[in-house]
């Protein structure tokens, strides 16, 4: 045997790169994550600058107690209501012989396409008496229950029902089985959905402003917009952020207790439970939910569209706002999708602790109320990028930070479709890493990237809170123009804007539903 000598062509740099713990992808991924997460640090910086005295004065005000009470009681009531409705709807559509189950799933998910502030508008404009605490509970429950229903339905669909069948064979009745098997099975999904609902509630501004109900978000907005008191607004924001992180922590703690094994699916779906005499009441209940959450907004939009503009304000063009909106939304979509690719690739290729934490950090903004993200971008621009303040790039940056988790999820979902090992095989066939990306990985995820961009674009085009804070002076998007009209009680003039936003939200909601539930059909009939 000859003594092998050192291979030629191993330059020191190549050697370091080949052997180092970081691939060339890592610096890019970390830079993106740092950029996305950094503005949040400025909320803390700003709050610290308020000074201790001011902080004490602000935080000691009785109004803070009111805000906390208002926000927490609302969050508790809505979270409970959405959990009950969401689980019920998911159970009925996934585990029973309800007629037309697949149609019900779509109908029940569609309310997500109605932005909360449009929903607020549709109730308030038809019945001015809907306002305050109970108004907020009604409107937000109608808006948010799909956030519980979709993950629960997905879990129920994935698990094949064998656990329920075993429970029945052990002599438990249908109700006992529901309570002791199905509910615990769905508990992680239920908890995740409930968390999402409460985080949403913390950050919502438009609907509460419309319903004249004061929460943290509306108080922060007023503080910032009217008084332009950045310090006290950021103090309130940091309380809000703390509240959000507390919720996330609570969820993580609760999640550790209820451990469910992921039942291996046999590919056979469960035999649906027969509803029997509960069929009519179930149908009626679901119909009521759909009527309240989908029917009322559609009716309101139709009513005001037909009634025409009841306005004294000068009419603006829907189409020019739509164009502006689309411009911003598409830029944000392209930037955030492009930024999500390196982070997703890095996490997908290397399951290391470092890669996982980078990815998790990127999801951090998802747990934070939209208004907090928007304000942090404002502070950042004022202090460190003055020329960008109230310029188009700032709004795009705000969207990117706000919707980066959305893009990342979509890109990760696309990467999950790539069979494991193809990149390695491509390299073993003599292809350089960049060529592997161009010839194998990107062609495989391209449709997914398109979906990611579309998702971000359509979501961004119905965003109100951050847009109000970040838009360049004089720029009107669909949401802000709608807001101008409704603030002037010009409900008729606002209707076309609302209708357009709802229409634009339908595709991402359908996409989300399909991705959450998978596209494989459930059998319509028992057995």
């Amino acid at each position: 045997m000859t003594t092998p000598h050192r291979a030629e062509g191993l330059s020191p740099l190549r050697r370091w790169r080949a052997n180092g713990p970081l691939s060339p992808l890592a610096p890019v991924a970390f830079a993106v994550v740092a950029l996305v997460v950094s503005p949040l640090a400025f909320v803390a910086v700003q709050a610290a600058q308020a000074g201790w005295d001011q902080a004490q004065r602000l935080l000691g005000r009785p109004v803070l107690a009111t805000l906390i009470t208002n926000t927490v009681t609302l969050a508790a009531a809505v979270t409970f209501a959405t959990a009950v409705i969401g689980f019920g709807a998911a159970y009925l559509t996934e585990r029973t012989d309800l007629p037309g189950r697949r149609w019900w799933t779509v109908l029940l998910a569609l309310p997500l396409a109605v932005p909360e502030f449009v929903r607020g508008y549709s109730w308030v404009s038809l019945w001015p008496s809907v306002h305050g605490y109970w108004g907020a509970v009604l409107v937000m429950t109608c808006s948010l229950y799909p956030l519980v229903m979709l993950p629960v339905a997905a879990t129920l669909r994935r698990t094949d029902g064998a656990a329920e069948e075993v429970s029945r064979s052990l002599g438990r009745g249908p109700w006992a089985t529901l309570w002791r098997v199905t509910v615990p099975l769905a508990r992680p999904a239920l908890a995740g959905g409930a968390l999402l609902v409460s985080l949403y509630l913390l950050g919502e501004y438009g609907a509460f402003a419309m319903l004249r109900y004061t929460t943290f978000a509306t108080a922060i907005f007023t503080e910032y917009k009217l008084g332009f008191d950045a310090a006290s607004a950021s103090l309130l924001t940091s309380v809000l952020v703390a509240l959000a992180l507390l919720l996330v922590g609570l969820d993580a703690w609760a999640g550790r207790r209820g451990r469910t094994t992921r039942a291996g699916s046999t590919g056979r779906s469960a035999a649906p439970a027969a509803l029997g005499r509960w069929r009519l009441p179930s149908l009626a209940a679901l119909a009521a939910v759909v009527a309240l959450s989908l029917g009322v907004p559609l009716y309101a939009l139709g009513y005001w569209l037909v009634k025409g503009d009841s306005t004294s304000l000068p009419p603006a063009s829907v189409w020019s706002s739509a164009l502006t909106t689309l411009g911003y939304a598409v830029s944000a979509a392209l930037v955030s999708t492009a930024a999500a690719v390196p982070v997703a690739l890095y996490g997908w290729r290397r399951g290391t602790w470092l890669a996982r934490s980078a990815e998790r950090a990127a999801y951090l903004t998802r747990a934070l109320p939209g208004i907090a993200v928007a304000l942090s971008v404002v502070y950042f621009a004022i202090r460190y990028a003055q020329p960008l303040y109230q310029q188009p790039p700032m709004l795009v940056a705000g969207y990117v930070i706000l919707f980066f988790p959305l893009a990342l999820t979509a890109v990760r979902a696309a990467l999950a479709q790539v069979p494991p090992g193809v990149e390695e095989v491509a390299r073993s066939l003599g292809t350089r890493p960049l060529a592997v990306l161009a010839r194998v990985t990107l062609p495989l995820v391209l449709p997914g990237l398109g979906a990611a961009a579309a998702m971000v674009a359509l979501t961004a085009s119905t965003e109100l809170t951050a847009t109000l804070l970040l838009r360049p002076t004089g720029t009107q998007t669909l949401a802000t123009q709608f807001w101008v009209y409704t603030s002037g009680l010009a409900y008729g003039a606002a209707a076309p804007y609302a209708a357009l936003m709802v229409l634009m939200s339908v595709p991402p909601v359908l996409l989300l539903t399909r991705r959450a539930l998978g596209s494989h059909p459930t059998p319509e009939t028992p057995r």
Binding site: R6, E424, G430, T431
Partner: protein, 348 residues
């Protein structure tokens, strides 16, 4: 002089050591098999050789080229090593022909992919997409794709594991024939001893991140290094004996040994089930047993015997051509006994 040489190879996942001093030599043109239970590190070994996983220290060389010495690594794309993973990992967005031609310069793609399609018996399927092929066909395409750039070494990571039994046997024989015809040096990783015994020229048994024995299949089966290797390769009767020089003193009398065992000691000797002969009449060197169970396995019968004399394990296994009814039988030994030791290191 070509061939794969691995010396004192160490590798780890994070802080967990996986490979702990692997020694392996595969001569040019040989089909080698790394055989070991799942979790022993055999896939990691393959990935280090392919260039997907870094070595911590040690030495991996292909011919005169150093692939990895713990400090420098040749990138995977410059190693000229083909790789066939367990599930094939075909590029789903490319046709079969484009998959096979992936690693070739544009000008050669068409001719070479046609040539390889016929080599793996899939002529005419070049325009299909991977999802239109059966599992066995997909694996053949994966093999053709890896062979297309004429690699110096081919690595196969349990490539038949996902297939059903009959197809697995056929494809295995087919692949071995293809590789021999192409003269390719190949390393196959598997946990299936049948696969290893029927496929390879040389088998390396791996355990807890080390190669414990490397030998030709027949030698490995008849003369394993220790009791664990003996059991891993097939059913084994381990009979207590007094061993000295070329002889073992057992309950079956004096048996000849496969090799000189040196100074006198006590220890087990290995007798494979086929070495036990059953008869109805007593005689010298025969042990009286009760037939405990006998079941038909298609090609032969597997007989469980309970020996009545002491100094033997409670159950002996014999494979016979004819069925044995319950009752008594006398057992004698045919061929050489092989002295085996208990393994010195942990099994996983």
């Amino acid at each position: 002089m070509s061939g794969l040489t691995i010396t004192d190879l160490h590798a780890a996942h994070g802080r967990t050591p996986i490979l702990q001093g692997v020694e392996l030599a595969v001569p040019d043109g040989a089909l080698a098999c790394v055989l070991g239970p799942s979790g022993c590190g055999k896939s990691t070994l393959l990935r280090v050789v392919a260039g997907f996983h870094p070595a911590r220290r040690g030495h991996v060389a292909l011919g005169d080229t150093v692939l990895d010495d713990g400090r420098g690594r040749l990138p995977a794309e410059r190693r000229r090593i083909g790789y066939v993973p367990q599930d094939g990992a075909l590029f789903p967005h490319l046709t079969v022909a484009a998959n096979i031609g992936f690693g070739l310069p544009r000008a050669l793609r068409r001719d070479r992919s046609d040539e390889l399609l016929s080599l793996v018996g899939l002529s005419g399927l070049g325009r299909r997409h991977p999802h239109q092929l059966s599992g066995g066909q997909q694996q053949r395409v994966a093999l053709a794709r890896a062979l297309a750039p004429r690699p110096e070494l081919l690595l196969l990571d349990e490539p038949f594991a996902a297939l059903d039994a009959a197809l697995r046997t056929d494809l295995r024989a087919e692949v071995a024939a293809t590789l021999r015809a192409a003269g390719t040096t190949a390393v196959l990783v598997t946990h299936d001893q049948d696969e290893a015994l029927s496929f390879a020229d040389t088998i390396a048994v791996m355990r807890a991140g080390r190669i414990v024995q490397q030998a030709a299949p027949q030698d490995l089966y008849r003369e394993p290094a220790d009791t664990a290797v003996a059991r891993f390769l097939g059913e084994a009767n381990l009979v207590p004996a007094r061993i000295e020089g070329l002889q073992a003193d057992t309950a079956f009398g004096i048996l000849k040994l496969t090799a000189n065992a040196g100074a006198a000691r006590r220890g087990p000797v290995l007798l494979r089930p086929r070495q036990l002969r059953l008869s109805v009449t007593p005689g010298p060197g025969k042990v009286r047993t009760r037939i405990h169970r006998c079941h038909f396995r298609g090609s032969d019968h597997r007989v469980e015997l309970a020996p009545e004399s002491r100094g033997l394990p409670p159950v002996l296994i014999a494979y016979t051509d004819t069925a044995w009814p319950p009752g008594e039988a006398y057992v004698e030994v045919d061929g050489l006994a092989h002295p085996v030791d208990e393994p010195t290191e942990p099994l996983l």
